[in-house]
């Protein structure tokens, strides 16, 4: 294992923020795994840290394939991680929306540029990321449809789902989109947690990445074959919106199947305690995403269902 400083930023009254990369093996730039760019991605940082540990052990056993180099960047935004902020700096910039960055741009753009310039030539890019909206989701791989995506490769992670979606204007500033534009096969891995460590899901994500690296001939590692992923588009997901706001009492669980008309949740009146609304499943399907906070507003997405899919 070789540790390198990808970018160092000095800050008044704080120690320098160093973005560290850990390299394993020698040879062509094969795979790069990037951790959270927001200060609340604790689960994503934990998964990266577990990968560094696992790859270090594999390297010691001679299990990194010859001529292959793997890089892990466990955390990009340690500045925010240490102070419980989601975004970067006094200007609260979202580093994950600054790619490909600009070397002479503002601070967040420079961080993005430094990271991107270092990792842009890897053949495979895996980013551990999170939804902007608070909620739990089934672990899955997400890809942006920009003509360079390859859902068959995403299948090799062995996670239950692969989601391919059309880019929105704001996506053009993400790492995934810019990696794909430079012909890196890029994948975003979503787990069912964000701010808190979830051991089970972290283990599943770590295994999925090691499985992918094995199948792409970068490491020698025996692992379970995982799932044959179900490939979805955004249109296969049905939003279940609330009709009113209140206290959200969740019944349906992520990854579980619901039938048309099943009671998925209740909205409780925060003053009187009665159920203002019972959210019913609008279709048969599997719960892909569930709102995780205790309060919910009218019109919010309480769930997303994989339409007409059974366990």
């Amino acid at each position: 294992m070789f540790a390198e400083d990808i970018y160092t930023l000095s800050l008044p009254y704080r120690e320098d923020m160093a973005i560290k990369g850990y390299r394993f093996g020698k040879g062509e730039q094969s795979a790069c795994i990037v951790g959270p760019m927001r200060g609340n991605g604790v689960q994503q940082m934990y998964i990266c840290a577990k990968l560094v540990k696992a790859l270090k052990e594999l390297e010691a056993k001679g299990c990194i394939c010859s001529g292959k180099e793997i890089m892990v960047i466990p955390v990009v935004n340690s500045y925010s991680m240490n102070i419980g902020m989601r975004f970067f700096g006094v200007e609260a910039a979202d580093i994950s929306r600054q790619f490909p960055g600009r070397e002479w741009g503002d601070t967040a753009e420079r961080i993005a540029a430094a990271v991107f310039n270092r990792i842009k030539d890897y053949s495979f890019g895996i980013q551990l990321t999170s939804f902007h909206t608070a909620g739990d989701s089934v672990p899955h791989i997400r890809m942006i449809e920009n003509g360079y995506q390859n859902a068959s490769l995403a299948n090799l992670f062995g996670l239950p789902f692969v989601v391919v979606r059309k880019p929105r204007p704001i996506d053009t500033k993400t790492l995934n989109y810019n990696w794909q534009n430079r012909k890196t096969a890029a994948f975003s891995l979503y787990t069912n947690s964000n701010e808190a460590v979830d051991e089970e899901s972290a283990k599943q994500s770590e295994a999925a990445i090691l499985r992918f690296l094995t199948r792409m001939g970068m490491i020698r590692y025996e692992s379970h074959s995982g799932y044959i992923s179900h490939v979805l588009t955004q249109e296969d997901l049905t939003d279940v919106n609330t009709m009113c706001g209140g206290i959200f009492r969740r019944k349906a669980r992520v990854g579980h199947e619901v039938r048309y008309g099943d009671a998925m949740a209740e909205i409780i009146d925060p003053y009187k305690g009665n159920a203002k609304e019972t959210i019913l499943a609008p279709t048969d399907g599997i719960v892909f995403f569930a709102h995780s906070e205790s309060l919910i507003a009218e019109g919010d997405v309480a769930y997303q269902l994989v339409h007409r899919l059974h366990e």
């Binding site: 000095s10 200007e91 003053y271 507003a297």
Partner: protein
Amino acid sequence: MVKTVFSIGLSTGENLVIKKNRLEGEGLQGKGRRVAIVSGIHGDELEGQYVCYEVIRRVKEKPEYLEGILDVYPALNPIGITVADRMIPKLEKDLNRMFPGSGQGAAFERAAAAIIQDLEGASLCIDVHASSRFVKEIPQVRICEEFADKLIPYARHMNVDMVWTNATETVHESTLAHSMNVKGVPTLVVEMGLGMRINRSYGKQVVDGIFSLLYEMGIWKKEPHGIQYPVLSTDGEVEFIRAECSGMFIPAIEHSHFVKRGDKIGEIITPIEGRTEKEIIAGKDGLVFTLREYPMVSKGALLARILTDIRPKRTREEE
């Protein structure tokens, strides 16, 4: 008349309500050319509050001059304004990156869609912003190059100091202005002042400009005087000056002043060492139209923007 544009229930005994005030000329009954003034997309940008107030006050004072419809939306992100949050509180999302929205989406996606629907059909929309809390701006109109030919003739009458074509951020594709321009409603983005503050002088200048534009459009009968024409960014070049080290920025000049090449703009200091880390020197002559107000900077932070190689401004009378 104050009307509700959009309303949706929050979790605990309150609705999120977006309102507008409709002012219309006598006898129009909803028919006639309509101009919309919107503000408060970012909750920490308050300059538009004075602009909305002053526009409504002047129309109420002389309602006989109004020959069209004026819709004024002071607070598109009302909950953000109450807590001085640029983003939508709790969601931490930028409303001005959610347009055109979706009628079937989450609460603020629906709000964005409802705002667009309400603005459709207007002859003109003016989206009033302030700067961030970090840098101070002169009154300016920002427009996207894609729509420049259509928008510059409107922007000239806005009595601002500058029209900046091809500026980033506020003319991004997911913004209200871009969505409206795509829909064929000419939309100007006004920027001025500083976040979390109201500068009455800048506000008055922009309000004078709004009435000048309304006059040119035949919606306001009283002819304006003393309206200045802005410099165009395309006449010169915008030079960005950024911090090349971290520390505290102490400006050596006033905002909105001309500097000459070699003039000192400020310095970045390290207080605990009593040391000047870097002197910031102007590389070209020009107008400092942006100047940092928030002292703490990290490497790359914007310190100033200078519009170089520009012509002097002219007033309407001189033209």
